[in-house]
């Protein structure tokens, strides 16, 4: 009598329960990582403080304008989006020390030594009628230019791609090739 086996619990329905749960999670969740272009907005200017940023030398500002028809102006000349990366790269690296292009200033970088860091600032200005697609495309080209410059620097000094470097070296590269993108103030935007 004691030897009689207890009957096993029928487990064929656990699969169904698990399937139900699975379906629930499939319906209510989103997959994939979110990607995008990271930016830092400038802080709102303090009313009590006089504006100091106007002191930037004119040659150091690379103005990129997008008008309401999504046409791009770099400096004062119209330019196609495919040429923008090269234009920005040329301005920021300034290999021939052209007096019209942004100047370079020797700067002490910790753990590396002195390096001529470009003082160029890219000022991105847009119209209220510019489409978001064009704006992102231009942002993307500028980031691409800076990423390519960083890659060049990494190859020349460390023999590796920027993304393959360790954190300390990445910091050095970031300091040598800074990402100075200024998003214009609204007074310029209105124009």
């Amino acid at each position: 009598m004691g030897k009689k086996k207890t009957p096993a619990i029928n487990s064929s329905s656990t699969a169904d329960i698990a399937f139900l749960l699975l379906c629930y999670f499939l319906m209510t969740t989103t997959m994939g990582t979110q990607t995008g272009l990271q930016r830092r907005l400038p802080p709102m200017p303090d009313k009590n403080q006089p504006e100091q940023q106007q002191k930037i030398n004119r040659r150091n500002i690379i103005i990129v304008r997008i008008n309401s028809n999504d046409r791009i102006l770099a400096g004062s000349e119209p330019i196609d989006i495919s040429q923008l990366t090269d234009k920005v790269k040329e301005s920021l690296s300034n290999p021939a020390n052209d007096p019209n292009l942004p100047e370079k200033e020797p700067k002490e970088i910790e753990g590396f030594g002195t390096y001529d860091v470009s003082k160029g600032v890219i000022s991105l200005q847009n119209d209220r009628g510019t489409s978001y697609r064009a704006y992102i495309a231009v942002q993307n080209e500028i980031v691409r230019a800076i990423n390519e410059l960083r890659d060049d620097f990494s190859y020349n000094h460390f023999g590796k791609k920027f993304s393959a470097l360790d954190e300390a070296k990445q910091k050095i590269v970031k300091e040598a090739v800074p990402q100075n993108i200024s998003e214009a103030e609204p007074k310029e935007v209105k124009k």
Binding site: A18, T33, Q34, G36, R39, P43, S131, I136, A137, N140
Partner: protein, 155 residues
């Protein structure tokens, strides 16, 4: 050949055990639970993200607050028109509401995480920059300076 019941052909074929089926499904379940996140809000605006090649990943998803900008969905166009609108949480909002929204988001996060908060601007690629500039100005006023223009990775 008689070894496998050839002499007794009436013997029933044993059923395939389905007890491991639930284990497999549970594994699938756990996979999806770990790799996905709960959808918090219902989309009220149509968003077709712009494409970019130099995208970076959003690092802390839990610290992101989303500002959706785009034309209302088909079903809502009868009431709200086709003009681009801002959606915060679950409803249409105006520029002025961003301040409260950011304050509420900030309140919900712990003290140490607040500087790392990112505002994700999720806008349709056909939206005009005017509305986005307004949003950016409002974010600057609230000192929510870390932003991310959400875009798809183009190959």
């Amino acid at each position: 050949m008689s070894k496998f019941g050839g002499s007794n052909s009436k013997k029933e074929v044993p059923a395939v055990t389905s007890s491991s089926l639930s284990d497999i499904v549970f594994m699938l379940l756990f996979f999806f639970m770990v790799t996905t996140q709960l959808r918090e809000t219902e989309n009220k605006v149509q968003i077709k993200l712009p494409e970019a090649t130099e995208v970076v990943k959003l690092e802390r998803k839990d610290l992101a607050s989303y500002v959706n900008i785009g034309p209302p969905t088909r079903a809502l166009q009868a009431t709200f028109g086709t003009e681009a609108r801002i959606q915060l949480n679950d409803s249409f909002k105006t520029i002025e509401d961003i301040r409260d929204f950011i304050a509420a988001e900030r309140e919900a996060k712990s003290e140490g995480d607040r500087p790392l908060m990112t505002t994700v601007i999720k806008a349709d690629s056909d939206v005009r920059m005017g509305i986005i500039t307004d949003v950016k100005q409002e974010l600057r006023r609230c000192s929510a300076l870390r932003i991310l223009y959400q875009s798809r990775k183009a190959e």
